[in-house]
């Protein structure tokens, strides 16, 4: 029997699979029929994971850069060098050293990396290489309900009557969750998509609200307005389980339908119909992207408030569900990869918490909140990063590879060959995830164990052993015999993980946290029956700024980052078939493209592949037109994956761009 069960580590769905292990290699993959989330399905990435796991493009030996050239070194030599240099940069002000962790690392690895930074180097400047977009979702949900994670359960999608997909190309990003939603719709659930671009899920929806850029939250507020006007609110639920609704209701009531129609570009009857169905449904779930293409705090708050108003939080088949696009993004947040958090969303500046960790780790900890590492790279105000420890850098999510060139000392820790390694001063290889035990937490808080399948292919250490070695050489001996011991420690220090252990995880399909004395088998979803306090409505800015074009710059340019992450993703480069599929459009439009609706194309007199010049108040670029009806008239779309477009055009806009996906640039388009 060559097939060994495991977890797919591409996206945040965390599908179950079995890997074929023969001749010390991964030679095949097969889906897990009985897995509660994936139920025997996999996507194009999951079905070809053996290509990635079989790649020879691995970092095979530690390296130290001497006179601009890399020289092979032993782990001992490289670690000593690393410690020597890091101590130079870690003084008490600690504004010069940063730690960038990877959202792909296992929980155990990220926990030890965090412990290394905080306990050994007394440094709190630890961030994820991907954006902190997911923190926005977690902050809103935690403030509102106490749960810093998805409120609903993926298994309950089949029980949900009304599914709302907000601004997410879900069938491309988390295909199997998209599949669950599609199947629920086939069985009778109402599926509604709100997006500024017509995605695949929009085509599969019962109703698609094709909104103008940045007007999504206005549409959501419009739903709330209809619910209030037509008495579709469960006032009992509101009174018993929630508090703080008056501001939200006031804001919603103050909206004007004429304004809504103009700003969203939608038909008022469509909005009212959808709102009515939503109000009448007994259960509802919202899905939206969280992470690199995630929303701002205000939009997430609007989603949360709408669902809370309609009584669709804390019941069966209900939930506000931010979906993580990367396998262990949720787990990384759980493991305290943030300048202000310890594990389980425990605050660093809580004296009691800090003391607990200090005692357990047997060392004084730095109580001053850290600085987000990306701030350190870009702004000189908060301290400029002179040294960085980088784990598994991924060009698909990380920004600022060129900023890295200004950093004096870079230590790179990773498994696969990478375009950024040449910038490093010291390189330390780690084993791949099939070469050691590890747990990963998916979008629905499910902590799943994937066990070691084979010995490390090269003479490399698993990351957890490497971090322990670095700690030891710095004078701190950690006594872990295996990743299972690390999880024991995590459980001891983290209330939401306290009931989790490898014994429980083995031969199971994972455990959803919170898992503690009250919930020994984990928690599927948040439940009104168990809530210790009322759910709080989120504070809103009350602003609905929707950009519009001007006479000089009549079109609104929107940027797509989400899907294009998979095209630039470092690990995707080491596959054949997934890379071929994700590159499909790039091969057709090697210089990039700008998607223009057929109506606009006619006006501009351009056809597919016509060269066009795109001009904004800040910059200009030349590219090819792609005529498609996936964008509304007056909106144009540019994908993020073409290097030239990013460095030349979008770079010129870096001063005004804060929220990538939400950024809208007014442009004019000239046929060349």
């Amino acid at each position: 029997m060559n097939y060994k069960p495991g977890i797919c580590t591409f996206c945040g769905t965390g599908c179950g699979h079995l890997l074929k292990v023969t001749n010390g290699q991964i030679n095949g993959v097969f889906p897990s029929q009985n897995h509660p989330v994936s139920k025997g399905r996999l996507c194009v990435r999951g079905w070809n994971i053996h290509e990635l796991l079989n790649t020879r493009a691995r970092i095979t030996t530690p390296l130290i850069k001497k006179n601009d050239k890399f020289e092979k070194a032993t782990y001992d030599e490289a670690i000593s060098y690393l410690i020597e240099k890091l101590l130079e940069y870690s003084d008490s002000t600690a504004k010069e050293l940063g730690f960038l962790a990877s959202p792909r690392s296992s929980n155990e690895e990220n926990y030890l990396f965090m412990k290394l930074a905080r306990a050994v180097f007394k440094n709190n400047n630890i961030s994820l290489i991907s954006d902190t977009g997911h923190r926005n979702s977690l902050n809103v949900l935690e403030k509102g309900t106490g749960m810093a994670g998805m409120l609903g359960s993926l298994e309950e999608i089949s029980k949900c009557e009304f599914i709302l997909v907000v601004g997410m190309d879900i069938t491309e990003l988390n295909p199997i969750i998209g599949s669950e939603i599609h199947l629920a719709a086939k069985r009778g659930a109402t599926l509604v998509t709100i997006d500024r671009r017509k995605t695949e899920i929009a085509e599969l929806s019962d109703k698609f609200l094709f909104v103008r850029p940045a007007s999504g939250k206005l549409a959501l507020s419009a739903f709330a307005k209809v619910l209030l006007e037509e008495n579709l609110i469960d006032t009992d639920y509101l009174k018993k389980f929630t508090e703080g609704h008056s501001e939200y209701i006031e804001l919603v009531k103050s909206l004007d339908y004429k304004d809504i129609i103009t700003k969203t570009g939608c038909n008022i009857d469509d909005i009212k119909e959808i709102a009515r169905e939503f109000g009448k449904a007994k259960s509802g779930m919202a899905f939206f992207p969280s992470g690199i293409s995630g929303f701002d705090k205000d939009t997430i708050s609007h989603i949360f408030n709408l669902f809370l108003l309609s009584g669709k939080i804390g019941r069966e088949g209900c939930g506000v569900n931010p979906l993580t696009g990367i396998n262990n993004l949720q787990g990384s947040c759980d493991m305290g990869i943030a300048p202000d958090l310890l594990t389980g969303f425990q605050r660093l500046n809580d004296n009691e918490i800090l003391t607990k960790f200090s005692k357990y780790w047997n060392t004084e900890l730095n109580p001053i909140l850290g600085i987000p590492v990306y701030d350190m790279l870009y702004e000189n105000i908060r301290g400029f990063s002179k040294a960085i420890v980088l784990v598994d850098f991924d060009e698909g999510v990380a920004r600022g590879a060129h900023q890295m060139e200004k950093v004096e000392f870079i230590a790179y820790i990773g498994t696969y060959e990478n375009e950024v390694t040449h910038l490093a001063n010291v390189v330390l290889p780690t084993a791949s995830y099939v070469e050691c035990d590890g747990t990963f937490t998916n979008a629905e808080r499910r902590v799943q164990l994937t066990e070691k399948k084979l010995e490390p292919k090269y003479d490399v250490l698993p990351a957890w052993k490497l971090y322990a070695k670095i700690a030891e050489k710095s004078g701190m001996k950690w006594n872990y015999e295996s990743p299972s011991d690390i999880m024991k420690e995590i459980a001891d220090l983290t209330p939401s993980y306290s009931g989790i252990s490898y014994d429980k995880l083995r031969n199971s399909y994972g455990i959803q946290w919170p898992c503690d004395k009250d919930h020994p088998d984990g928690t599927r979803r948040i439940d009104i029956k168990n809530s210790k306090s009322k759910y709080k409505f989120a504070a809103l800015t009350g602003k609905f700024k929707t950009p519009s074009g001007s006479e000089d710059f009549p079109y609104l340019l929107i940027i797509g980052r989400a899907l294009d992450y998979w095209q630039k993703n470092n690990i995707m480069k080491h596959t054949f078939i997934p890379l071929r599929e994700y590159n499909a459009t790039l091969l057709l439009y090697p210089e990039g493209y700008i998607e223009i609706s057929s109506e606009d194309a006619k006006e501009l007199q351009v056809r597919d592949y016509s060269p066009v010049r795109v001009k904004s108040p800040y910059g200009v670029m030349e590219t090819k037109a792609m005529v498609s009806d996936r964008v509304k008239p007056d909106t144009v779309y540019v994908p993020y994956f073409v290097q030239k477009m990013i460095t030349e055009f979008l770079f010129q806009h870096r001063e005004i761009m804060h929220y990538r996906e939400l950024d809208v640039i007014p442009v004019k388009i000239i046929k060349v």
Binding site: M1, L18, Q33, W47, E203, N583
Partner: protein
């Protein structure tokens, strides 16, 4: 024909093991999923386990197979090529008839044309096949709709049918005969043959009650698919639901698409792999220069069902392309497995016919 006691049937596997690497139905202990995979201990074999989740084609047409390793020396312009041929013969013990039919389709694809696939031939020619009659169907089965079961009629070395306390053992080839002669088995009589027929009829009779997931009236749609008398909108609606994952091709016992991938090993060496590919992928049919005869997703879905159901394709396989195993139905994220699409085609036609009244 011979008889072997039910509790001794695995002796055949023991005998096979002397000369072959043994493969058979096995249950993965942690997930309880049924696989058709290599057997380390004879008592792991579960002959009456439900239809394996993986198609046995995995054994002689692996998902990832190294076919050559080569070194190219730029200076001397010298190439050293080393083909990789798996040496030991393999025995498939307890394969179901639908999977055997799929194997025969693959035989015609890889061996029956102008070019013979050396790697496939190497696996296949030494293979020993023991089929197992399905005395009852499983939820996903539809072999009665595709003329591929519930029992094997030819192409096996030995065929087993469970008859109460005994297994009936039918010999289908010289190889099978030679193996049986090494074991001292009781000869079976006409009454056992009749019992077998009875069992098969009982099995067919159970389809209505048990095989509820995937019933499909294939013969009715062969005509429609062959002549192409289906509206574009129909294929577009199917295409919209396709998640382009490739699963249907991977689990299908008669699908044969593959890709060739060269991987650099250390130094100047390279290895060439043959990996499964799928016609549901956009890149599969894309050619140098960018032309793609099947770029829109609906064209790719159309092609798949043509491959499995059309008369023209059946002529190549000498039987329908679909073998009724039901696997595509449970792996499809879009819920457009063959059975459900077949039903949709029928409904389309009834709708059209009704509209003429």
């Amino acid at each position: 024909m011979y008889l072997i006691e039910k509790n001794r049937v695995l002796d055949i596997a023991v005998e096979l093991r002397k000369d072959y690497d043994l493969f058979g139905p096995i249950i993965e202990p942690s997930t309880k999923q049924v696989f058709f995979d290599s057997i380390d201990e004879i008592n792991e074999i579960r002959l009456s386990a439900p239809i394996p989740s993986n198609p046995p084609k995995l054994i002689f047409f692996p998902q990832m197979e190294k076919i050559i390793s080569y070194k190219y020396d730029k200076v001397s312009k010298n190439v050293e090529i080393e083909p990789v041929f798996n040496e030991r013969a393999r025995a498939l013990f307890g394969i179901r008839s639908c999977d055997l039919m799929g194997t025969q389709c693959l035989d015609r694809f890889f061996l029956g044309g102008e070019f013979v696939d050396e790697y496939y031939r190497n696996h296949r020619k030494k293979m020993f096949i023991v089929t197992n009659t399905c005395i009852k169907p499983f939820k996903q089965c539809l072999c009665v709709c595709t003329d591929s079961g519930p029992y094997a009629r030819e192409g096996y070395d030995l065929n087993l049918t469970e008859l109460g306390e005994y297994y009936l053992v039918e010999v289908g080839s010289e190889k099978g005969n030679a193996l049986i002669n090494r074991m001292s088995l009781k000869k079976a009589g006409k009454e056992h043959d009749n019992e077998k027929i009875k069992k098969i009829n009982e099995s067919i009779g159970l389809f209505d009650k048990i095989a509820v997931d995937s019933k499909a009236w294939i013969s009715r749609v062969v005509n429609r698919v062959t002549t192409g008398l289906l509206e574009e909108e129909f294929w577009e609606s199917i295409g919209k639901q396709c998640f382009e994952c490739g699963a249907c091709s991977f689990v299908c016992p008669s699908c044969s698409c593959f890709n060739i991938e060269d991987v650099r090993t250390d130094g100047s060496g390279h290895e060439r792999f043959r990996c499964w590919d799928s016609c549901s992928y956009e890149g599969y049919s894309r050619m140098a220069g960018g032309h793609n005869p099947r770029k829109p997703i609906e064209d790719r879905r159309n092609k798949r069902f043509f491959c499995k159901l059309s008369y023209s394709q059946s002529k190549k396989y000498l039987r329908p392309g679909c073998v009724g195993c039901g696997r595509c139905a449970w792996v499809c994220p879009g819920d457009i497995g063959l059975p459900i699409v077949t039903e949709s085609i029928r409904r389309e036609f009834h709708k059209k016919a009704d509209s003429y009244e």
